[in-house]
Amino acid sequence: MTLSSHCIELDHLEAGYDRAVVGPLSFALDAGEIVALWGPNGSGKTTAMNAIGGGARVFAGEVRKRPGLRVSHQHQNPLSLRDIPLSGRELLALTSSDAAALPASLQPLLARRLSELSGGQLQLLQVWACLTAPVDVVMLDEPTNNVDAAGVALLQQVIARARDSRGVLLVSHDRRFVEALDARIVEVYRR
């Protein structure tokens, strides 16, 4: 991996696991902007994001990062993790996230055990944990999954606010959500 003046820069990236399934893909992400990877199911959006996070293999091209860049990466975790006896507050503390700044409607979730939360409530806490962690770039994979309309509206607010101080890379199948965030859209196609 080489260094970049952008936060993150993909240069003709071809990535996958056993073989390349996405790319060549090129784009850059800077602080203060939201980039949304857009494409049909199975086009490799998540794989491209995983390649940036180190969870997928780069077969050709490059992922360049700014020196010292701190990245958080969230995707939907299996609901079986809810059996782990962790409170909402402890979940946020794992990423050094700011629990005090959590919106008032979510504050009651802090004292509850994860098994007492709905899938949507857990998803909101996980997204918040990554969004407010002390990082330069936030990568969110399908953040609106399981989240109701009020939760989606809340996510729009907090992601838009996060843009002020960091870059946000997003994978979402929800076009209205992406457009409401005024995100720059990068089309992704399967090889």
Binding site: G55, H73, D83, L86, T95, C130
Partner: protein, 268 residues
């Protein structure tokens, strides 16, 4: 409880050693269950028994044999298998097979074999106590550092990876610590009692804990109370300690299940 007997060195040393084991093993068990690798406890206990028997046959210190074999197994498992119970199941049956073969072919190891499988806590000496005390100290310091990393890796694996942290390194360190703890515990309380102290208090804590911190307290309390009760019963009734401890933990688990069923029934 016969507290006067506790101050007799003949009982004080075994009691204190077992108390340390009962305080430490459930903490390790909480993180093994977090990784869904609770079978590791039985695997390392079986391997420690095999190592101890091998050392006894070769005329070497049994503690070194138990620690050495389980430590090597932990390193080999971390290298060969990334995570999950498969690797531990193989290690467990390997430890059992080797132990039984050594017992069948080396009658001199028979006495030690009984102690390891029955759990004869009353035969532990000062070397067991000091080893366990040193381990408890090191484990307490290491777990303060490792806890957040193990939890982060489990709850936010992509976040963990994106921060450039190495799960393999932390897992190996934790596995080595579990192997060491189980080896020392097995030498004092036997294979099944060591496994039960890892497995049952954490199972109860996962049911009742309101948070991770609360669950750690529950697991330790259940373990220590069950241990003290078992020590007293085994002493007064002149029974082998290991089975008594295992059964007292089973009673604790049954009480936990019953109360949970009652409380969920009253809510429903």
């Amino acid at each position: 409880m016969n507290w006067t007997a506790m101050f007799d060195p003949m009982f004080f040393i075994p009691f204190s050693t077992g108390l340390l084991v009962a305080a430490v093993l459930p903490i390790l068990g909480m993180y093994l269950r977090l990784r869904e690798e609770w079978l590791a406890a039985l695997a390392f206990a079986q391997l420690a028994a095999a190592g101890s028997l091998g050392a006894a046959i070769l005329g070497l210190p049994v503690l070194i044999g138990g620690l050495g074999v389980s430590g090597i197994a932990a390193a080999a498992k971390a290298w060969l298998v990334r995570s999950g119970n498969n690797g531990y199941a193989i290690l467990m049956v390997a430890g059992w097979g080797a132990s039984i073969l050594m017992l069948a072919n080396a009658p001199l190891a028979d006495h030690l074999g009984h102690a390891l499988f029955d759990g004869q806590l009353y035969f532990t000496g000062l070397s067991n106590l000091w080893s366990m005390a040193a381990f408890a100290l090191v484990a307490a310091m290491l777990m303060r550092w490792l806890s957040g990393k193990l939890l982060l890796e489990r709850m936010f694996p992509d976040f963990f990876r994106a921060r450039g942290l190495s799960a393999t390194r932390f897992h190996l360190l934790f596995d080595l610590m579990v192997a060491g703890g189980l080896a020392l515990a097995t030498a004092s309380i036997g294979v099944m009692a060591a496994f039960a102290l890892v497995f049952i208090p954490t199972m109860i804590a996962y049911q009742w804990g309101r948070s991770w911190r609360h669950s750690l307290v529950i697991a330790t309390l259940v373990s220590v109370v069950a241990y003290v009760v078992a020590f007293e019963i085994a002493l007064v009734e002149d029974q082998p300690f290991g089975p008594v401890l295992v059964l007292s933990l089973v009673v604790a688990a049954s009480i936990g299940w019953s109360l949970k069923k009652l409380s969920s029934g009253s809510r429903g």
